[in-house]
């Protein structure tokens, strides 16, 4: 097993989705929580306005990031975000979002995204932790709470020799505790609300101990200002409605029944 850095307490967040305002609020909050490091599990772009505003904040705060499917696509100059939608309506909105981010992200920032590692391994106390974007095996695999069997989590942990897996990609936080101190934690995203009718976003604090402590932290930010910026940038009203209301309005074909049932649309 290669040597990995050990931490006692860390902050981890998922997709930023161009939401520099939420990112700023998250970093400010994390500063007050006695964390040793801040990690981002990928997807800096998509959905929101002004992609280039995110990168100076990440660099100034020395956030340790990994690459998401969105980042990979932008870096490689691919034609789409790699989410794999089949519904033409979902594809339409995914394309609008991706083309905007692609056009507005500088070459330098795209290159930075290209240099990000796909995964990170650390230790939290004695626990071996794997950080990935979608799943340990595939960058764009969705791990929803209702679609991730315990048997699959155990296989991931076994195959990687890990105790804890951290992921994002779905946009909804959840955690699964398994026997012998094993965990899978989807840290959620800070880019947009998690389809619960609330305007705040979420990130995660993890603390080493006899048993891993997982704390989901809500972040309130100036969502109305973000909505106005999105309007000024001509982004779809459907996206802006999500920021203002907390309900997802597009790209929902990939939601399993339980998660779709909790949303408004």
């Amino acid at each position: 097993m290669q040597a990995t850095k050990e931490y006692r307490r860390i902050a981890v967040f998922g997709g930023i989705y161009n939401n520099a305002l939420a990112l700023e609020a998250t970093l400010e909050d994390a500063c007050k929580r006695d964390v040793e490091a801040v990690f981002c599990l990928g997807d800096m772009g998509g959905f929101g306005p002004h992609p280039d505003r995110v990168f100076p904040l990440l660099k100034a705060a020395r956030v340790l990031a990994i690459q998401g499917n969105y980042d990979e696509s932008l870096a490689l100059g691919k034609g789409d975000c790699g989410c794999g939608y089949t519904d033409p309506r979902d594809n339409f909105f995914a394309r609008v979002s991706y083309e905007y981010t692609f056009r507005k992200t500088s070459l330098g920032n795209k290159a930075w995204l290209g240099r990000l590692p796909k995964q990170r391994r650390i230790r939290l106390g004695s626990l071996q932790v794997l950080m990935c974007h979608g799943s340990p095996r595939t960058i764009n695999e969705f791990l929803w709470e209702s679609s991730t069997p315990n048997g699959l989590v155990q296989k991931f942990l076994r195959d990687g020799g890990m105790d804890v897996i951290l992921c994002t990609h779905t946009g909804m936080k959840w955690q699964r505790r398994l026997p012998e101190g094993k965990h899978l934690v989807n840290v959620g995203v800070i880019g947009r609300p998690e389809n619960d009718g609330q305007t705040n976003v979420w990130y995660t604090i993890l603390t080493a101990g006899d048993d891993l402590q997982v704390e989901f932290v809500p972040v309130h930010y100036d969502h109305e200002r973000l909505a106005l910026e999105m309007e000024q940038e001509g982004l779809p009203p459907e996206f802006i409605a999500t920021i203002r209301t907390g309900w997802w309005t597009t790209c929902m074909e990939i939601l399993p029944a339980k998660e779709r049932g909790r949303g408004r649309y």
Partner: protein
């Protein structure tokens, strides 16, 4: 002579169970495995055998389980099997909806409360017009399928209307069908419309003579993870098969009993493989 290409096997993500073989109470003109009520050429599966297969799949970290047929609700133990599967993984059942009444819908809703995993119900409808639909699926099929969708939705079960492209005659492309069915469901008060569209395959009642085949040359540099047969296996009458479309066909059989024995490359030998390759479709929900 071109040799038949093979798709490598990566890991087991999806387990399909052809629980009633080709036994169905309908006899749709486009059925991919020519299912029907009389003399099904593939037999139903034994309940204990299905449970064994699911247990084996669990050890390999299976992510999803699908029940198909024929018509799965014809199996006398289908609720017991769904409950069993839902303790292992999110589970989907594909149905024509004709056997879903209020009592059955209540039973399905009850199952979802006993598991952390999602239950997905795919209900087959081929047209928003009852007459056009029933020309394909049989008299009365549309009314019963729509009744099922209403009953399931009323209980928060969020069915996925599944249509093939058989009635798609206009050249407007796929977008037309999604919009057509989605708007139709919304007009019925189904406020969370879910639609899946599947291409027509040259197999079963739509099998033609000959048909083009895939070649190794065509697939050079191809990402095989885009084909479901790289991560799917089907338990059906006679053994374990590469995919739900070819289930039951001798050349698609990979093993007799053990799932693990089927974890090997499969030959992309059938004209239906061309459809999968060209459309990028998957039989899964997403």
């Amino acid at each position: 002579m071109m040799s038949t290409p093979v798709a490598p096997f990566s890991y087991l993500s999806t387990l399909w169970v052809q629980v009633t073989g080709t036994w169905c109470n309908l006899q749709c003109v486009h059925c991919i495995n020519a299912s029907g009520p009389k003399n099904p050429w593939l037999r139903r599966l034994d309940t204990e055998m299905v449970k064994r297969a699911i247990r084996e799949a669990e050890t390999f970290g299976v992510k999803e389980i699908y029940f198909t047929g024929g018509e799965p609700f014809l199996h006398e133990d289908i609720l017991e099997l769904l409950a069993f599967a839902l303790q292992v993984a999110p589970t989907t059942i594909l149905t024509n909806g004709t056997m879903i009444n209020g009592t059955m819908a209540d039973a399905l809703a009850s199952l979802t409360r006993q598991t952390p995993y999602s239950l997905e119900i795919r209900v087959s409808v081929d047209d928003i017009d009852p007459e056009q639909n029933d020309r394909i699926r049989g008299k009365g099929a549309w009314a019963k399928a729509l009744r099922a969708i209403q009953l399931l939705h009323a209980r928060g079960l969020l069915p996925i209307l599944t249509a093939t492209e058989i009635s798609h005659t206009s050249p407007s492309g796929e977008g037309g069908l999604y919009t057509r069915f989605r708007d139709f469901l919304l007009s019925l008060g189904i406020d969370k419309p879910r639609v899946k569209i599947i291409p027509i395959f040259p197999i079963g009642r739509m099998a033609g003579e000959g048909g083009s085949l895939l070649t190794e040359e065509v697939l050079r540099g191809f990402d095989f993870s885009l084909l479901q047969c790289s991560e799917t296996r089907v338990v059906a009458d006679g053994g374990i098969y590469a995919c739900p479309i070819l289930a039951g066909l001798e050349e698609a059989r990979l093993a007799e009993e053990s799932l693990q024995d089927s974890f090997k490359p499969c030959r992309l030998y059938h004209p239906a493989c061309v459809t999968c390759y060209q459309t990028g479709m998957t039989c899964k929900n997403f």
